[in-house]
Amino acid sequence: MLTYTIHRFLLALVTIWAISVLSFAIIQLPPGDYVTAYIAQLASSGVDVTPEFAENLRQQYGLDSPIWVQYMKWMQQIARGNFGRSLEWQVPVMTIIGDRLWLTMTVSVSAVVFTWALALPIGIYSAVRQYSIADYIFTFIGFIGLAVPSFLLALILMYVGFRYFGANIGGLFSPEYLVADWSLAKVWDLIKHLPLPAIILGTAGTAQLIRIMRANLLDELRKPYVITARAKGMSEFRLILKYPVRAALNPFVSTLGYLFPFIISGSIIVALVLSLPTIGPLLLKALVAQDMFLAGTIVLFLGIMTVLGTFISDILLMWIDPRIRFERRE
């Protein structure tokens, strides 16, 4: 098991390196560079730009050297913990991302917790009481949850919250805490603001997971080992949780890896609607402005999160399913 873990870890490092190359390449793909965009912006505001000025800018930002040199420079800086300066904001990238990264993680984790907390019990119930009235109701709600775009759900919930509860539901903080330093009161304020984005971001995933759990569990419930357990005289509740549910958990754990990046990239529109200070809208802006250090860093972080998530879910899978553990041993 240890050798396997080490093996996976090394593979993860290689993957992360590949991701860094790819994210760099992706940033370089669109024609033009930051200076082009910057000059266009200056020109549109009526400033005359000479070619020499543009050339100076390119030199200043190192945009005139070959691509692989630019990549090496970027990696060198990253190795020292310096992710470069945002070309658009003129501050270090980490200053911009810093808080947003943690807030994004907080929102994502709450969305995942919400998804699991709701999807697991409902999925189990729907499978065990297949074709019951409650199963049909959950199925119906589930399909609606899948079909409604989350930004629409966000708009509706905001409207309802504002119109009927007078709540200020945009953002993650009340106005008075927006620029305040971190304190217990600010954390509590954050916690109070979390449920809404968590519900909105988690709804589609919940509906999907309910369907997956129901289908998996229905398969498992028909297996002979369930009858064996029943023939032992176990109570139905304990039996179902111990045997078929555990077997049905595998797909949940194996999808854990790409749940986080999916929630981040899938949440851009919702984050814009709810004005959440998360990574999603920032990435969008950085891409539009061709702010390459900022965009590159975000894409790199997303990639690393995916790889780490997959690594963790591999380890978890090995832990919950002995068959995987033994296959890997050989």
């Binding site: 002979p224 080992y225 009858i227 064996t228 005289g233 176990m234 109570s235 002995p322």
Partner: protein, 343 residues
């Protein structure tokens, strides 16, 4: 046949209610199981053998359910008083039937490959059974499990106990299955095709093991099989089932040497024999089992029966009636139909 039976199945009917109609998987089966004896239930696939076993334990899965009949188990109640409980009338998820399942009546399945959960060690799954039925600690349950594994002939049980089912061969797994079934000293062991999935040498070993354990523990065994050889080797009494009904029952010697029902006779004829003339064709039973939704009227066997009497067998359903003090058959060759009961 002097003492009263430990288990009496009386006119058991278990139907499966599907969209196409009710499938009568077990349709009025009656038989008795005596203490310390082995009852063999034999019949083709789909004749209701397994559903009978599941019905006794009340673990028939939806849409199946017991619609009629009684399953009377003789047992001592909590105060030690002897009495009878009708399993068919218990709540299938209630505490009483759960105490009987695994505790007084245990089940061994056909599929040793899939009958264990791959997620837990065999030790975990046996210890759990012991702790469900007996108030013992984990360490005590574990040492008992090792003893059980040793008893069923598992080499080095103190190491095997921590292995997962997929690490064991089919024969060993079936031994573990038997150990688990025996873990709470059941009075009745139901073995549903216990050797079908095993190779021939292993089959013989498992049957020997079952017989050996029965001799030591004096438990009753219900062995379900389609293999007349297994019946001949194991059973004291035989029940022949066809389409959910018992067509003949009696002691093993009478069934093999003086079968009465045409179906039993046909089953016995279709056993390959080393004394048969070389290159001769093995006799088979004409036709195939009817589709469950298309049950023949009258005697269910009449379309395949060589001795069917036109005008009688397709109109009236025969009853399982005694031919001698020990043997019963359900056939109009031996009984007149009741005029009032056209089927």
């Amino acid at each position: 046949m002097t003492n009263s039976p430990i288990l009496t199945v009386d006119n058991l009917k278990t139907y499966f209610f599907t969209d196409e109609g009710a499938v009568r998987a077990v349709d009025g089966a009656s038989f008795e199981v005596h203490a310390g004896k082995t009852v063999g239930i034999v019949g083709e696939s789909g004749c209701g053998k397994s559903v009978t076993a599941l019905s006794i334990l009340r673990i028939v899965q939806r849409p199946g359910r017991i619609v009629e009949g009684a399953i009377r188990l003789r047992r001592a109640d909590a105060s030690g008083k002897r009495g009878e409980v009708d399993l068919a009338s218990l709540d299938p998820e209630g505490a009483e039937i759960r105490a009987i399942r695994g505790g007084e009546i245990a089940l061994v399945f056909q599929e040793p490959m899939t009958s264990f959960s791959p997620h837990y060690t065999i030790g975990n799954q046996i210890v759990e059974t012991i702790q469900l039925h007996q108030a013992v600690g984990k360490a005590e349950a574990r040492s008992r499990t090792i003893e059980l594994l040793r008893m069923v002939g598992i080499p080095r049980p103190e190491r095997r106990i921590d292995e997962y089912p997929f690490e064991l061969s089919g024969g060993l797994r079936q031994r573990v299955m038997i150990a688990m079934a025996l873990s709470c000293n059941p009075k009745i062991l139901i073995a549903d095709e216990p050797t079908t999935a095993l190779d021939v040498t292993t089959q013989a070993q498992i049957l020997d093991l079952l017989r050996d354990i029965q001799a030591r523990t004096q438990m009753s065994v219900i062995i379900i099989t389609h293999d007349m050889g297994v019946i001949a080797e194991m059973a004291d009494d035989v029940i022949v089932m066809y389409l959910g009904r018992v067509v003949e029952s009696g002691p093993v010697d009478e069934i093999f040497h003086a079968p009465k029902h045409p179906y039993t006779q046909a089953l016995l004829r279709s056993i390959p024999s080393i004394f048969a003339e070389p290159r001769s064709k093995l006799p088979t039973i004409a036709g195939s089992i009817p589709h469950p939704h298309n049950r023949p009227s009258g005697c269910p066997f009449h379309p395949r029966c060589a001795e069917a009497m036109p005008g009688l067998c397709e109109r009236h359903a025969p009853q399982l009636l005694p031919l001698s003090p020990s043997q019963k058959a359900s056939c109009f060759l031996y009984h007149e139909p009741e005029e009032v009961a056209p089927a």
